[in-house]
C-alpha cells in the first residue's frame, strides 16, 4: 500500500524532496525498518539517513518512536529534532 512520506528541514534538503508516495515491501514493519529501507534508495537517502538515531518521525502527524509499526500509516514524516519557539 502506498504511504505518503514527507521530509522536513535538513532531511528534506538532503533527500532533495519534500514528499513522495512510496510502497515499501511487507517486511518493512516499523519506522526504523522504513529508514533502513529508504537508505538503500540512493546516495541522497543514504546521506539523509546516515545517522537515523538523530532523526525524529511522525505517523499521521503525531510523534512516534522508531519502533512504531507503520502498517496503518497513511503519512509518515522524517525530520530533525524541532527548534521552534
Amino acid at each position: 500500500m502506498a504511504i505518503k512520506i514527507r521530509y522536513f528541514a535538513w532531511v528534506r534538503e538532503q533527500t532533495g524532496r519534500d514528499e513522495e508516495e512510496l510502497s515499501p515491501p511487507d517486511e518493512v514493519a516499523t519506522v526504523a525498518d522504513l529508514m533502513a529501507w529508504l537508505k538503500g534508495r540512493g546516495p541522497e537517502y543514504a546521506a539523509a539517513f546516515a545517522k537515523p538515531e538523530v532523526i525524529r518521525a511522525a505517523i499521521d502527524q503525531s510523534h512516534v518512536k522508531h519502533d512504531a509499526p507503520i502498517a496503518e500509516a497513511r503519512e509518515i514524516a522524517f525530520f530533525p529534532p524541532v527548534t521552534g519557539g
Binding site: 528541514a9 511522525a58 502527524q61 529534532p81 524541532v82 527548534t83
Partner: protein, 160 residues
C-alpha cells in the same frame, strides 16, 4: 486560540482580545520570543532566520499542548501564535498568552506552553549569518530538560 502566520502579531491587541469583557481574569502572562542577532556567542552575527513547519501537524501539536495546559491549570483563556517564513533579528517569533484568576496559574501555564512548544511543535529554524553561511539550528538538551521538569513537577506555592 492557535494561529500560525507569516505576519507579525500585535502583542497588546492580542492581550486585549484575550481579556475582552471578562471580569474573572486577575492575571495575564505573555511570553514573546524574538530573533536574536547574537544567537551563538562565538559565531558571526545572524542576519536572517527562516522558520519551516509541518502544516497540519503544527496546528494539531499546538492544540494538544494548549489542551494539556488547560487541563493542568484553571486558565480562563490562552493564545498561541507562531510565525513562519523569513525573519530578521529583532523580529517576533512566537507569542504565548495565558489568562487566569491567579498569577501562579498564569505564570506556570505560560512557562509550560513554551517548554512543550520548544520540544514538540514541528518548527525548524535555519539561520544565515553575516558571512552568508547557513545552518539549521540544533535542538538544545536544555530544552528537553526544561520540558521534562513538568513530568513530575510538584506544585509550588499558590498566590494570586
Amino acid at each position: 486560540m492557535i494561529r500560525i502566520q507569516k505576519e507579525d502579531f500585535d502583542i497588546g491587541a492580542e492581550i486585549a482580545r484575550l481579556k475582552g469583557e471578562r471580569r474573572d481574569v486577575g492575571a495575564i502572562v505573555s511570553f514573546t520570543g524574538v530573533v536574536r542577532a547574537d544567537n551563538h556567542g562565538d559565531a558571526a552575527p545572524i542576519c536572517a532566520m527562516t522558520l519551516e513547519h509541518y502544516p497540519g501537524m503544527t496546528e494539531a501539536e499546538l492544540a494538544r499542548i494548549e489542551a494539556e495546559a488547560r487541563a493542568r491549570w484553571p486558565l480562563v483563556a490562552s493564545t498561541i501564535i507562531h510565525r513562519v517564513g523569513r525573519l530578521a533579528p529583532g523580529d517576533n517569533i512566537v507569542l504565548v498568552i495565558t489568562a487566569a484568576r491567579h498569577r501562579r496559574d498564569a505564570f506556570e501555564a505560560a512557562n509550560f506552553l513554551m517548554d512543550y512548544l520548544k520540544t514538540s511543535a514541528p518548527f525548524w529554524k535555519k539561520e544565515r549569518d553575516t558571512t552568508g553561511a547557513e545552518r539549521w539550528v540544533e535542538a538544545r538538551s536544555s530544552d528537553d530538560e526544561a520540558a521534562n521538569r513538568w513530568r513530575c513537577a510538584a506544585e509550588g506555592a499558590r498566590g494570586d
